[in-house]
């Protein structure tokens, strides 16, 4: 647990972004979070293009992905990542409000690593985000080539 992985948060709702960042901030996990506000931006980040054209290379240690997104939705992003040789190893956690079986099945079919329904209760939400952050950014050993930095 010596390194902190970079987290890519793909979330369109600013309030959800704020709540998630607050939750991650409580456990000092917020520093290494990059926020993409829609599916297109998320893909831009992963492919180092557009506003992310000059970022240093390397994949995030984990991607927290909302399903309902403007422009390119979460499942399309997921499909794109999984079909690209360079990106397909990125651990992806779907973080969504949808408890629909249909969404879960499609996400798992596309090879998602975890599926988390955002709890309505704030404490549960904070806990869920914390555990996700700690597990994926700290405990889990991401695939080689992911961005990490010493804490």
């Amino acid at each position: 647990m010596s390194e902190l992985g970079r987290v890519l948060l793909v979330e369109d709702d600013p309030r959800d972004v704020e709540l998630t960042m607050t939750a991650l901030g409580e456990y000092n996990l917020a520093n290494e979070v990059v926020v993409a506000r829609d599916g297109q931006k998320a893909l831009d980040y992963l492919y180092c293009r557009g506003e992310f054209g000059d970022r240093s290379n390397g994949n995030p240690a984990v991607m927290l992905l909302d399903l309902k997104l403007p422009k390119v939705d979460g499942l399309e992003v997921l499909q794109q990542i999984r079909s690209d040789q360079r990106l397909k190893l990125i651990p992806v956690v779907v973080l969504t409000s949808s408890r629909e079986e249909k969404d879960m099945i499609r996400s798992y079919n596309l090879g998602v690593n975890a599926y988390v329904v955002k709890p309505v209760d704030f404490h549960e939400f904070v806990n869920a985000i914390k555990e996700l952050g700690i597990f994926w950014a700290v405990i889990n050993e991401p695939p080689p080539g992911s961005m990490k930095k010493a804490p």
């Binding site: 709702d13 309030r15 959800d16 709540l19 607050t22 399903l67 309902k68 969504t96 409000s97 949808s98 408890r99 629909e100 955002k118 709890p119 309505v120 209760d121 704030f122 404490h123 939400f125």
Partner: protein, 384 residues
């Protein structure tokens, strides 16, 4: 050609014979001998063919008489000379045989004609029926399309409820919590209570949304029906509920229950709902008694859950199973009012019925019926 009226038919017979006689006499006058036999036979054929049996007999008799009178020696008398007897009998015999053959032939033709008409009518009828079936099929297909559309709409509605309503709710809860945390020292007692109320209401709304979604899913979900042991379900439900009843004195009286036919997870929801209701509404009893049993019916079993709890007024029994209908104050008994609506929906889905009986402060009994295991098995074995 069929002539209905007897006088016309008999008149036709007389006329034909008269014409044959006239022609025969004319032939004889101009020297053509022995034409009369054929002419009378022809008259009989025509009469038999067109006028039926009675006129045909008349024609035979008249022809014979005319033949005898005009053409058989001695002429102009009904006597028959011995020499002419064979000729006379030959005529009579041939007349009768011809009439007979023509009558038979005529009957066969009439039968054939009527059979053809019948067949034609049947074909016509079948064509009309096929037309009707086609129309009905078209209607049915249209109805199915409409149903599918409305089902899809319902699904997308449920989806947006699931996704879009939950997000703002999460924000209300989240930011109220943050407000509480950051400003609780600056807030006075009243303001703290306000934020607390906001939080509780939002959470309650979250529960309502979840319950409503689960309720709507019952209608949309595919049911996987198979044999289900009610015993096992009750055991599981009691174990599940038991975790929340620590410290309470509850007497469970559970009779052996039969095997039913249905969707296991749905029936489990029914049992859990009914048992947790029984546990909830017996809370104020020092010693709660909950009985689970069944009554055997002909094709179905009637299982019941009986408690000695708060009960209800039978006047409001119809409201008991409505969505979000509650008969108790939230301070007394918590809940969203969707449990019994869920129970009823599931049981109706299984082709059963739900009944409730009770009295205020004297407990309640909830009975639901389900198809018997073996009956349902036989039924599904019989259907291809």
């Amino acid at each position: 050609m069929e002539w209905g009226r007897a006088p016309i038919r008999y008149g036709f017979s007389v006329a034909c014979v008269a014409i044959a006689l006239g022609l025969g006499l004319a032939c004889r006058y101009y020297g053509f001998l022995d034409a009369e036999l054929s002419l009378f036979d022809l008259a009989i054929v025509v009469v038999t063919w067109y006028a039926g049996v009675g006129p045909s007999v008349l024609a035979v008799v008249l022809s014979t008489a005319c033949f005898d009178y005009f053409f058989v020696e001695p002429i102009y008398s009904f006597e028959v000379s011995r020499a002419e007897l064979p000729y006379f009998f030959l005529f009579m015999g041939s007349a009768v045989i011809i009439a007979w053959f023509v009558a038979v032939r005529r009957r066969i033709e009439t039968d054939l004609l009527s059979t053809r008409d019948q067949l034609q009518a049947e074909v016509e009828q079948r064509r009309r029926r096929e037309e009707e079936i086609r129309e009905l099929n078209k209607d049915l297909a249209k109805r199915a399309r409409e149903l599918e559309t409305s089902n899809n709409e319902l699904e997308s509605f449920a989806y947006s409820v699931s996704h879009d309503l939950r997000a703002p709710l999460r924000h209300v809860v989240g930011f109220s919590e943050l407000l509480q945390k950051h400003a609780s020292s600056a807030l006075d007692e009243k303001s703290r209570r306000y934020t607390q109320t906001i939080l509780e209401s939002a959470k309650r709304m979250g529960n309502l949304i979840d319950d409503l979604l689960a309720f709507s899913r019952i209608g949309r979900a595919e049911t996987k029906k198979r044999l289900v042991s009610l015993d096992q379900l009750v055991k599981e439900a009691v174990a599940e509920i038991g975790q929340d009843t620590k410290g309470r004195d509850i007497v469970w009286k559970i009779d052996p229950l039969p095997v039913c036919y249905g969707d296991r997870s749905m029936l489990r929801l029914v049992i859990v709902n009914l048992l947790s209701n029984a546990v909830k509404f017996t809370r104020m009893r020092a010693r709660a008694e909950i009985e689970i049993g069944y009554v055997d019916g002909e094709n179905e079993v009637h299982a019941f859950v009986r408690d000695n709890g708060a009960g209800f007024d039978m006047r409001y029994v119809n409201k008991l199973f409505g969505v979000f209908q509650r008969l108790h104050l939230p301070e007394d008994f918590e809940g969203t009012g969707i449990g019994l609506a869920t129970v009823r929906r599931i049981i109706h889905h299984h082709g059963g019925e739900v009944r409730a009986e009770g009295a205020v402060d004297q407990g309640a009994t909830f009975t639901f019926s389900l198809p018997k295991g073996q009956v349902a098995e036989e039924r599904s074995a019989n259907t291809p």
